[in-house]
């Protein structure tokens, strides 16, 4: 055996096991969930080893399905709004001088360095019936009774946007920054006004970044529950809350697993459609 082959073997024998273990750690539970979703629920939690699709049928019961559907719609709203906010923001940063860009990015990322939890509570404090905004409006007689901004779908959506916005900015920024200025010059040189250049060159070339942003926002948004806890105050339930209650109070594990698998399928389906519509295969994404 040549030395070069030996060296390669040495690398694989070190890295290989870690690699396999990591894959097991990450993929294993995933597989377990899929299996569990096709089992029967145990009486006091747990599962019984019988194949059934009851858990999936339960999803389509009206009360549950309404909640899940609402979750999906809120997650989509959140994603679209995050994109609408983060795209101009990222675009704005890439238009700045190079030296200033990382500073601006750091600035927007700074609050992200503290946990989402605290930032959410600060929203509660700002928005609740005795919060600063209500007090300001009352003091200046814009309103006569305090308004409850919290504990509804909009508050939850706002919270979701707030927590996941930084995730949307970064991939778009990266994609925009990679676009060769020369291509924009060429477009302008060939007679295209800025709006056309944006639509025909900038936007298509940043599609991969937008795709990444969609994944990074939609996926956690569809599963998030603590935001609904805090800003929805138990009145706005999301699929995440439903899942948690199946594993805790309701003790219906297969149903919890089935909702997860269902949401995963919805997510993959949406990404597939996005991919087709966006013609991302053109970009080698």
């Amino acid at each position: 055996m040549s030395k070069s082959k030996m060296a390669r073997l040495a690398v694989f024998s070190t890295v290989g096991p870690i690699f396999i273990w990591t894959v097991f750690l990450i993929v294993g539970p995933m597989v377990y969930i899929v299996i569990m979703s096709f089992m029967q629920k145990g009486l006091y939690g747990g599962v019984e080893k019988k194949f059934t699709v009851v858990a999936y049928q339960t999803i389509f019961e009206e009360t549950y399905f309404k909640t899940i559907l609402k979750s999906i719609i809120i997650a989509m709203k959140t994603t679209v709004l995050c994109l609408l906010l983060s795209y101009p923001f990222a675009y704005f940063i890439t238009r700045q001088k190079k030296s200033r860009r990382s500073g601006l990015l750091l600035f927007i990322m700074l609050p992200f360095i503290t946990s989402g939890l605290v930032r959410l509570y600060s929203w509660v404090i700002l928005l609740n019936k005795t919060g600063i905004i209500n007090r300001f409006l009352l003091d200046h007689h814009f309103i006569s009774n305090s308004i409850q901004f919290l504990y509804n779908d909009n508050a939850v959506t706002l919270g979701l946007i707030y927590v996941f916005l930084p995730f949307a900015v970064l991939p778009i920024y990266n994609a925009l920054e990679k676009i060769d200025q020369g291509l924009l010059d060429v477009s302008s040189d060939l007679g295209a006004k800025p709006v056309r250049t944006f639509l025909k060159v900038t936007l298509p070339l940043s599609a991969s970044g937008v795709f990444a942003s969609v994944v990074l926002v939609f996926v956690p948004a569809i599963g998030a529950y603590f935001i609904a806890d805090i800003l929805g105050g138990g009145k706005t339930l999301l699929a995440g809350n439903l899942i948690r209650s199946q594993f805790t109070t309701s003790k219906n594990w297969p149903f919890g697993a089935a909702i997860s698998v269902f949401l995963l399928a919805v997510t993959l389906g949406m990404l597939y459609i996005y991919n087709k519509v966006g013609n991302l295969d053109d970009l080698g994404v």
């Binding site: 010059d185 060939l190 025909k200 298509p204």
Partner: protein, 376 residues
Amino acid sequence: MVSPIVVMKDVVKKYGDLEVVKSLNLEVDSGEFLTLLGPSGCGKTTTLRMIAGFEAATSGIISVENERVEDKEPYERNVNTVFQNYSLFPHMSIFENVAYGLTVKKKKKAEIKEKVLEMLEMVQLNGYENRKPDQISGGQKQRVAIARALVNHPKVLLLDEPLGALDMKLRKQMQLELKRLQKKLGITFIFVTHDQEEALTMSDRIAVMNGGILEQVGSSKEIYDSPNTRFVADFIGESNLFEGLIKKFLNEKEMLVGTEVGDIPVRWLEGEIGENIDVCIRPEYLKFSPEKILHGVPAVVKDFIFAGSIIKTILQMNNGLELIVSTFTETEGIHLGDLVYVYWETKHAVPIRRKENLLMDVLAQTQREVFYHVEE
């Protein structure tokens, strides 16, 4: 008289305190192939980009077809550019790339198709219209970039070192193709390069730039045979340079210049006796012989360099400086270490004004102009 299609007047470009282009004056005639030639960082690309509209001139006037364009955006100027690194749209097919300018101008689909296919045929890329830029070779990409610009029939085509990324053989081939296209279409080409040979073979006129200054504008022959400045002599082709001062005017065509290695006969120059000048002699105009010759400069044979069609003989003069002599064939009977005498025809010894003297001229002229204006 052909009227100039592009005029640049007192154009200055500053980045902060750095003056990249210094008061540039240039007129480009309609249908001309003009090359901006100079080393990296001489301001040639910046000049081109100011004409295209990608850079705003700090001051000065730029006009295309008698219309001032300084404040116009690139998309409002009737010039097109071919970039060094191709800059093809990676998400569009070759057809869509070439069609881009026409689509923007909202031409009819049938017309676009006809024109694009015609142009692709002209650059010998018929059949490639459905490929993506990453599916074609470097030379093909360059041809697409040229087609994409030319399909719009611009008044002026700007080319920014378009052949820089190609290898030698392909480059030579593309040079011929470009020249052919330019003649055929009669479009004005402004071509940027740092390759002197490319400039010399392709251009109607060459504008040599150095440090943001236009050193000389003229035909290949003028630039090569009668360089205005030491820089031009040194940058374009190879040259043997002597430092000296004017000693004597021999007749209306010749003068005698005193140098470290003796008095040498030089082409006539409007100058004064005692003025410091440089003398440039191209290596192919130098001759040498083992026998002593009047005004011949003694030198020792140091080296022979075989450069293909040309053999360069390196000679060392008494003052230690080296001369290069180019010949097509080996000089028989001459060996390393031989003492030879170098001579030349006087018309090939070109006198060059020193920069400081040139500056004096400019100052004098400026003063004259100021007086003129005052008198008005």
